[in-house]
Symmetry: D2
Subunit: 362 residues, 4 copies
């Protein structure tokens, strides 16, 4: 929970989030090249068809539905609403994006979210099982039906293949769908400790999405729907929520560019973001400060002295997440576009920080 | 959270809930006497008009809207939906009836419930303030707008005038509406430690309801709407939710009977329920067992040895709320209709319980 | 569309609707006799179980779900919401109760109603087919999924077996569910021109309900759910909508009484209502006035001179449906409780009406 | 209602819609130039601020809320949901986009749409008044609260200042909000017969939007909210519906470009589209064929012989709206990007058409 937001003007270099920049130049160039042809509307254009085929190739299956929507909130709300009947509930970590950052969009479509406490940002078999045990009272409690997880999580940690498999097994045993928010799935699957592939994500979930906005695109997320029957009607939901863009080509063009090659831009950009975070993280721990969460992807949660935080805020913007006495947890995000010279400057300030000297000048 | 439900057949005497019996004989008689006249439908009948006037007299104000609905879930869901716009959220204790026992009805009308931990079953100024602090992130979080409390609470405790006033002050300072679920408001306002009146409830909340189902009626709850503008359109909501009964007279007749006198049947029945609970509670503590919550109204939460629980279950039905090793928390409810000879028999079993003897016979 | 409502006080004898009276004496007596036992709550009581079994016997099948709810609006809204996914629409006559008299309850649960023009109050194969043709534009139009009809219709006409079969065939061919509002199913199935049975209703629809409120009960409608999977979760919907009464016994007791015998009270009461309407209808046509709709059940739509209408309004209350110059369409409803001496007095006024004499006195 | 859709491949020149092309080159160039800076997310970027200021200057008021959303369906659904309480209904022409082409999005947010028959594509004072008269039955009917119109309408006609003023007066007299869908407001306000300005639109409605998608942008619509209190919370709704883009800059950049000058690109592009339609329209009437609706903006509805339609379909794609015997109504749309040489080729085919010759070859 951020205790204070970023400054509104971006005169300082920003580690605030992973959507401060525009698109990757290759993506923008593709938009430019595609601009002058006429295309059929509402996602039936040739670019979107190509993008869907390319993503399916990466997934190793040609029978899954791929649907492009303009934002993560719409990806989550649409997917969840499409899966559930009115009496069915979602189980999610209390730190989940759908719980804390989407203005109650899931509830706005009528569904209760049963909150569980995250463990290292993640749902565990134990917490999931307990949530089921606590919500069996038919018909007085909404019926648990879908488990929401994020990979990477909201604090940048990732699920291992074993962890995801364990959750999937419980879901299968209890008639639950497993849904993964992939706003930062690129960062997750290119983490140095990751052992999951995009194909695993498909196999081990029922529905998930691949986030473009936070990884090189101007906008757009690709929802992957494995169930054929659900996929058949899925565009109704996308359209009803205002997310079926008339010029759907603008998402098609971008995703086609991001997934064109086997060694594709999408994962290369994510890898670059993770490397920047690793640099930041090492430098902070190297300077003797602690992390609040292990740096596994492109988010760094560092515990820094308030005075250092204030000094950094002169030149950089970022979230101050929480304050503890003389210390604060700050959140620093990196992307494919992170300016490494700015990152270096940040690291230097951290390394050279002398609390006494500062206190004199303040 | 009950670990096991009651037996389905009621051959045993039941302390399971406060809706096992029919109506109080006076209430049923009133229904009988009113049966043969023709009345205008949908709550415009003379009985409903009389009932509204009688309740208004008890409230000391003749300008409030009174609306009868058939169930507590409809009273809660309708009141909350009528007060909120789509982006607005409810703050409630995680033990609240709307959270745990209404199948997500509030979420089904589109609204998020922000859960806070109960203190002795109640919302406190501290937990409320923290909930506000944690949910300010415009526009990414649903906007807190209504505070839900129950009096009596789900564990039978009650709000003092000072406690309710403190909550109301915070609500006023933060643009929040205060809503009280009065499923057991009769029990609350006749508790031996209560210092609130029905008029106080009106003054210190924005909207609340008076439960008939659990206190002498066959069905029916009376929602009290203070805001004139809200009251003006309120019947639209009642009708839209299927709660505007064509023969609204059946609720009007019952509430007219319950509130006819100044020293009215409604509070007399509640007082009787509380006295029965007090007897039960004293007998249990007298036998050396502990309570899990203070007995302030018609609910007794007792910590009894599992063996005693099993013995009692031969003759009585009640909820086993939770188990702790060799002990269980059981919930016992009393009503105006509680058979005092059965209660006496229950108390005798508790008092005369000898664990060793029992273990031999089992 | 009524041009003016009934007077609010019922000092005049009323033909306004079929819910002006209380319950049939046998039904009320059953409530009285059942009042003192303890019963399990929320519809698991012995009376509700008995009522469900009795209704199943009348339906000739013991595997259908039967669910009691307190009002017609809740029966319609719950049934429809339980059947549909968010993108699915209802097809209904523009005269349908869900279209004109339920405050948008179907839309409030998220579903579009595609209106078709009624033919003699009914949906026809032609109008249904046209509605399908007009709404195919995937994914830009909500997907037709459920057809709503009322039997008897809102103007008192009924479906023949051939008509209902024809609709059912189209529904089956197009993946549509057929749902029948049975607020006045008793009147329909006892009409002198009816050739449908309760078993036919079950066979020729997917879901329908049997109205108690307008045919002898204080409140209560019994929803019949044929699909086993839907029935399994149906109570979630009933509870979520606030329609699962804690003292469910009050509906169980009444339906058990209404359906106890093979030649049951339910249909006998409906037959009585129809006979009264027939008398009224014959007398009106005998006096030389026209009907606006054929009198097939307990509703009479008569075209009377305005001056006669005004004279009748001195002694009787009823709806003035529409005005045409010097004439008005009035709606007269009869029930099992209709006072035949009042009906006779009404008929005499109609028969003896002399417009000239009246115009002098006015 | 289209009787057949466009071919999926765009090898033919398309007059199918006004969203087949990408963005106007100036708009795309602006995106390119803005790509490399860091900007605050979620619409707080400097481009969006500039765009809002520019639009406000065109509106002549600096106190109105401007909100960018990615699609017309989201503009409509969000605006309507933000204005209404759960029991309130919309009045709209049965030809309205919200009725026929948005998958029930308004109903999905809980609101009934009361349909009226369009007159020349438009709502009239008479039809509006009748809709109010037909829907007064408190509390059994949803309460009319918002009137939806489109300018230009779905058939390309426009509202005059007198017509819009007349509707606004009825709205004011009846407590109704007037909402205008401006998907094609550029075309409307630059029609040769138009007498309304953007400032008039603001004055004569309560809320309306300015469509970017169909007039030069890649995506984006700008909702103009006059009511300060509504504007204050409006972003909650935008976010809850998944329409608050993280990189809100992509809509800000485009609208800033479109509204930069007093004689701005936005209206110049619309004027160009209208001129192309005029050419098409004149050529068709010049060849002796009739129009199904007067060509007032960028839509041409022509009644052509089926054989001519089939011949045209060899080279061009467009909607065949309806068939009447040997004739069909076709819909032809033009835009700022319409290729005038293709348009000329189309016109030549129409002018040189010889039905006899054709019939021989077929």
């Amino acid at each position: 929970m951020p205790a204070s937001g970023p400054a509104s003007a971006k005169t300082k270099y920003s580690f605030t989030d992973d959507y401060s920049e525009g698109a990757h130049p290759d993506v923008l160039n593709a938009l430019l090249l595609s601009n002058n042809t006429q295309e059929v509307g509402y996602g039936r254009d040739t670019y979107s068809e190509t993008a869907r085929d390319l993503i399916r190739r990466h997934l190793g299956r040609d029978d899954v539905g791929i649907f492009f929507v303009p934002s993560g909130t719409s990806a989550n709300a649409i997917s969840i609403a499409a899966c559930l009947r009115p009496h069915e509930a979602v189980i999610a970590c209390s730190s989940g994006h759908i719980v804390t950052r989407e203005t109650g969009a899931v509830e706005a479509s009528g569904h209760k979210i049963i909150n569980v406490a995250p463990v290292n940002g993640k749902m565990t078999p134990e917490t999931l099982t307990k949530a089921l045990d606590d919500n069996w009272h038919f018909p007085h409690m909404a019926k648990p039906r879908l488990v929401y997880i994020s990979n990477a999580t909201e604090i940048g940690t990732i699920y291992t293949k074993a962890e995801l498999t364990a959750l999937k097994r419980i879901c299968e045993a209890n008639g639950l769908l497993l849904f993964a928010d992939g706003a930062r799935i690129g960062a997750a699957l290119t983490s140095s400790i990751n052992d999951l592939t995009l194909r695993d994500m498909l196999e081990l979930t029922d529905i998930f999405w691949i986030g473009g906005t936070k990884n090189g695109a101007l906008l757009g997320e690709a929802i992957v729907v494995k169930d054929t029957k659900l996929a058949e009607d899925f565009e109704f939901f996308v359209k009803q929520r205002g997310s079926l863009l008339a010029k759907g080509r603008i998402m098609g063009v971008q995703f086609a560019e991001l997934f064109r090659e086997d060694d594709c831009l999408y994962f290369n950009l994510a890898r670059r973001a993770n490397l920047a975070a690793e640099k930041l993280s090492r430098s902070i721990t190297g300077a003797g400060y602690e992390l609040n969460a292990k740096t596994e992807t492109n988010q760094v949660f560092a515990v820094l002295p308030l005075t250092l935080v204030q000094a950094l805020q002169q030149d950089f913007s970022f979230y101050v997440w929480e304050k503890y006495g003389e210390f604060a947890v700050v959140r620093l995000l990196t992307t494919w576009a992170t300016d490494l010279s700015q990152l270096e400057r940040f690291n230097q300030m951290v390394l050279s920080w002398k609390p006494d000297a500062e206190q004199k000048t303040l």
